[in-house]
């Protein structure tokens, strides 16, 4: 599975820290997700999509 969180974050000029704060997770977790080392739960994926105002499919896709 790959994700576009880094791209969306760059587009909206949000730092990992800011995103982590909005989601209530640690910055390390955002970093792990961006590096495909951790796959978030559906709840967290939906929250991330809501922040970026996009769908989960736009953020995450199967390789």
């Amino acid at each position: 599975m790959k994700n576009e969180i880094r791209v969306f974050r760059a587009k909206q000029r949000i730092t990992q820290d800011e995103l982590a704060l909005q989601l209530g997770v640690s910055r390390q977790t955002i970093n792990a997700i961006e590096n495909n080392k951790y796959f978030p739960s559906l709840e967290l994926a939906l929250k991330i999509a809501k922040i970026f105002n996009c769908t989960v499919e736009e953020l995450f896709s199967l390789e």
Binding site: A20, G24, V25, S26, Q28, S41
Partner: protein, 154 residues
Amino acid sequence: MRLLNHQFKWPATAIFYVTLIIGIYAISVENQLEELWEVPVYSFFGNKTGFLGMGKSGWIQNGIFNEVLTFLIVSSGLIAGFSKEKIEDELTSKIRLESLAIAIIINYILVLMGNFLLFDFSFLTAMMVFIFTPLVMFNLIFQFRLFNYYRIYQ
């Protein structure tokens, strides 16, 4: 999973490791500390043989040092392992559960090894130690993996 408040984490961790060291010392001196703090306690299965070979229940004199130490090690170990991290999220929960699973698996591998390699009283001593090893390994593995995760993804 419901966890205890983060404020319990570090006091419990400190008590856990201090009492654990005292416990290892107590085992190394072959329970010479067993007689410490002797008080009357109610025993459900006392020393005198009663009905069907079970011990008679009643009041006996017993050193409670071991009991207090066991209580402190187990309770502080549980509190340390199941208190929230500063930022508790789903990844820390995952690491916690995985660490618990690894600790249980390693413990039962050790139990199986002890089953075939240790006999008589050394087996009983090992079984006594195996009561504590899941908690000890769980805390060590969890802290190590959490430290690694913070280091790698900082």
